[in-house]
């Protein structure tokens, strides 16, 4: 189970398609989220540049006169008031530095009396906004160089003034500000979270919707599978009811019709097979009757001769004894034939149990074949307690296989039958020294219907019947080919009779 879980190809379609849809949704959602977030970040930073630029420009205009006058309080007061007037800007500090690097005023003189040296490099030389969005910083930096108007004509500008950002103006101070952008990043996180949540919910909804829709769409497959399974498990072929036909799409309707046509064909075939089996049974009865007649006829002829001999020469004690002995043997032979017939037909498949020694009858039942071919039968019955399984069916299975082995064995060969039971499993092993059971014949053991080739209707019918009986009992048969001959192993489920009785 676990390996197939990781084998995507083995997943059911009803899972595979929704997962595919979810995967596509995730890919699309991720891409769109990235694009949206990227555009949002661009817009946010652009907006921040505008807002912080406006903040510094406004401050610059407010503090420039105070800077020119060296009015520390005026500059501080403007910085302090500016902090609360620009709601969209959260300055950490704003510092006015004179060209000689003396600080004229700071918005937070205690914590930031001057521009911290480690931040100075953060301020861009071109007065543009720089941002560090990393989680441990979350700050933006912006500076402005404050300049006075151009010098009057004829008055030379200082060299440093010409090289400053003010070009031809006189730089009087530089305004540094560090902006707290935590709120901006929080908005970004909220948007990202919203995107993830919305896309996640949509993906989940599409996946679930796809699952249920597909499950409904594939329902005809389940119906078809159920009817096919019936054939496999019970050998029962039933057409799909017409009511289903109207409830499914066109292509499934056609599939149902084809299945029903096949079901009808298989049903006809099974009927034919049953008829064949009946005919075989009748033929077997005929053969049995002729066999019995043959087996009885021969001793009868001898016995009649013996009676004639007694009538003619009955006064001779030696002839009388010999004739009586012959009569006795003849009668014993007839008794054996009667016994075998009785054993075979005295009870049907109604026998619910297999008792120890039940299979000993196999010796008697197979004796004619064994004797005729001068075979040696090695029968080991290891069943020591009654089993809850149809005994007559088991004996029929074993007898069929034994007779088959006898037929396949060479003259004087050895046929072995071993029966055993262990852990709820009855095992019957039948081995011969024949040339090996052809594979097409062995396949008959597993077929649902007997071979139907023209002119071979009766060939292998016994094997097919054996396989049929084994399947009826819920078992299976394995055919092995050792160095010599064939070995067939029948495995049948069987519980001890006492266990079932106790459970009952």
């Amino acid at each position: 189970m676990t390996p197939s879980l990781w084998r995507v190809a083995a997943w059911p379609l009803v899972i595979k398609v929704p997962v595919l849809v979810a995967g596509l949704m995730v890919t699309v959602a991720f891409t769109i989220s990235q694009v949206v977030l990227w555009k949002f970040v661009q817009a946010q930073e652009h907006n921040l540049k505008l807002v912080t630029g406006a903040y510094l420009d406004g401050l610059s205009a407010a503090i420039l006169p105070a800077i020119v006058q060296g009015d520390v309080w005026g500059v501080f007061d403007a910085l302090d008031r500016g902090r609360s007037r620009y709601a969209d800007v959260k300055p950490v500090f704003t510092i006015v530095e004179l060209p000689d690097r003396r600080v004229l005023a700071s918005s937070d003189p205690l914590d930031y009396p001057a521009v911290p040296e480690d931040r100075r490099s953060r301020f861009a030389a071109d007065d543009s906004l720089t941002i560090d969005s990393s989680s441990d910083v979350r700050r933006g930096w912006l500076a402005r160089t404050l300049c006075l108007e151009p010098f009057p004509a004829g008055r030379p500008a200082a060299a440093e003034a010409r090289s400053s950002p003010c070009l031809d103006k006189l730089p009087v101070a530089r305004l540094y500000t560090e902006i707290d952008i935590t709120d901006l990043l929080r908005v970004r996180r909220e948007i990202l979270l919203t995107l993830v949540l919305v896309n996640g919910c949509l993906t989940l909804a599409f996946a679930l919707g796809g699952y249920f829709v597909l499950k409904r769409m594939l329902q005809p497959f389940a119906v078809l599978t159920r009817y096919v399974e019936q054939i496999r498990e019970a050998g029962r072929v039933e057409p799909i009811p017409a009511g289903y036909r109207g409830r499914v799409a066109g292509e499934f309707g056609q599939l149902f019709e084809r299945f029903n046509a096949m079901a009808v064909a298989v049903d006809e075939r099974q009927t034919l097979a049953a008829q064949l089996a009946d005919r075989e049974k009748t033929a077997m009865l005929g053969r049995l009757a002729s066999g019995i007649a043959h087996e009885v006829n021969n001793p009868l002829a001898g016995m009649l001769n013996a009676i004639d001999t007694i009538q003619a020469h009955g006064k001779d004690p030696a002839v009388l004894d010999a004739s009586l002995e012959f009569l006795k043997r003849g009668l014993a032979g007839i008794r054996d034939v009667v016994e075998a017939t009785l054993i075979t037909y005295k009870d049907g498949f109604d026998t619910k149990h297999l008792t120890p020694g039940y299979l000993d009858d196999l010796r008697i039942l197979a004796r004619p074949k064994i004797t005729a071919r001068r075979l040696r039968l090695d029968l080991h019955d290891h069943i020591v307690e009654p089993l809850a399984i149809a005994g007559s069916a088991v004996r029929q299975i074993a007898l069929n296989l034994l007779l088959n082995a006898c037929a396949a064995s060479p003259i004087g060969g050895l046929v072995t039958v071993i029966t055993s039971w262990c852990d709820g499993t009855l095992r019957i092993t039948v081995a011969d020294q024949g040339p090996g059971l052809p594979e097409e014949m062995a396949a008959l053991l597993h077929r649902a219907a007997p071979a139907m080739a023209r002119g071979q209707e009766n060939k292998g019918l016994g094997l097919w019947m054996t396989g049929h009986l084994i399947r009826r009992l819920g078992g299976h048969v394995d055919v092995e080919y050792p160095a010599v001959g064939t070995r067939m192993i029948v495995t049948l489920p069987a519980q001890p009779k006492e266990t079932l009785d106790a459970a009952a």
């Binding site: 060296g70 009015d71 520390v72 309080w73 501080f76 302090d80 700071s106 937070d108 205690l110 009396p113």
Partner: protein, 281 residues
């Protein structure tokens, strides 16, 4: 508020019936940011003078003084130093009574994180003055430095003017200045109204009681009806409901005529400072 803003916007107010209005000058000697104070004061004076009164506020004492001397203001509430400097031209109409006396002290304060415990330990600090024409916001510290034969530029690392006692306190509390010179009355009042700000400052020097900043008028206009009415209105503030509300906002007991020699101590300090200025190159 609108009335107050209108009153503050103009130097003079012309009434609809053609009667001349009255302009009253204010300087940062009082906490004019107290909510409703300016409106109440303007309303009270208008009622008492029976003519439109405009409250005129300028950033520095000097600007207000110049307007007063040039006749643009009918009267003004100024610091005592400009009065001491211009006693010939100005007449005191009324002196505020604070905690039962017409005087208040000057405080030299430091930021709470500053280690200085005495005035002398302020050497090398950045100092905030209120106004160069203010006794409690400049003259007292300047006088202390004179006694030590020092000047602000030599004693302090740097100094600047805030043009407001509240501004000076803010400058010291925020750390813009390490120390500052403020009027004790304003500091005491802010201790009740803005305790968080005051908690970040500490007093290292208290002066002796000095004359409270007076309400003055140009001497040549003293006899005018409006000025006399103004003086009477100020003196009678305690007997009027609106007047008492204004006094409550100002945390003052009332207004009284000037007692002789009230500003002598301030005048003496100014003379000392002027003396040093003459002897220094």
């Amino acid at each position: 508020m609108l009335r107050g803003l209108v009153g503050l916007a103009g130097v003079s107010a012309i009434p609809a019936n053609g009667e001349t209005g009255f302009s009253f000058g204010l300087t940062p000697v009082v906490l004019d940011n107290t909510e409703g104070l300016l409106e109440a004061l303007q309303y009270y004076l208008t009622q008492q003078l029976e003519r439109p009164v405009a409250l005129v506020k300028r950033r520095s004492q000097r600007e207000t003084l110049e307007m007063l001397l040039s006749g643009q203001l009918g009267a003004a509430w100024i610091c005592d130093l400009p009065y001491v400097q211009n006693q010939d031209s100005l007449t005191v109409l009324a002196v505020p009574m604070y905690r039962g006396r017409p005087s208040c002290r000057t405080y030299v304060i430091v930021n709470e994180k500053n280690d200085a415990k005495t005035f002398d330990q302020l050497r090398g600090t950045q100092h905030a003055f209120c106004d160069p024409d203010s006794t409690s916001g400049y003259l007292v510290t300047r006088w202390l430095l004179c006694l030590r034969n020092e000047s602000p530029g030599g004693f302090f690392r740097n100094f600047f003017f805030t043009y407001g006692h509240r501004n000076t306190i803010r400058a010291v509390a925020t750390g813009l200045a390490d120390s500052g010179t403020v009027e004790g009355y304003v500091w005491d009042l802010m201790k009740e109204r803005e305790p968080d700000l005051i908690a970040r400052t500490r007093i290292v020097y208290r002066s002796e009681p000095l004359g409270f900043p007076p309400i003055v008028a140009a001497t040549r206009a003293q006899q005018s009806g409006a000025v006399e009415t103004l003086a009477a209105a100020l003196h009678g503030m305690t007997s009027d409901l609106a007047g008492r509300e204004i006094l409550a906002m100002l945390a003052l007991d009332g207004f009284a005529p000037m007692s002789p020699g009230l500003y002598e101590s301030s005048a003496e300090k100014w003379r000392v400072v002027m003396g040093q200025s003459r002897t220094r190159p």
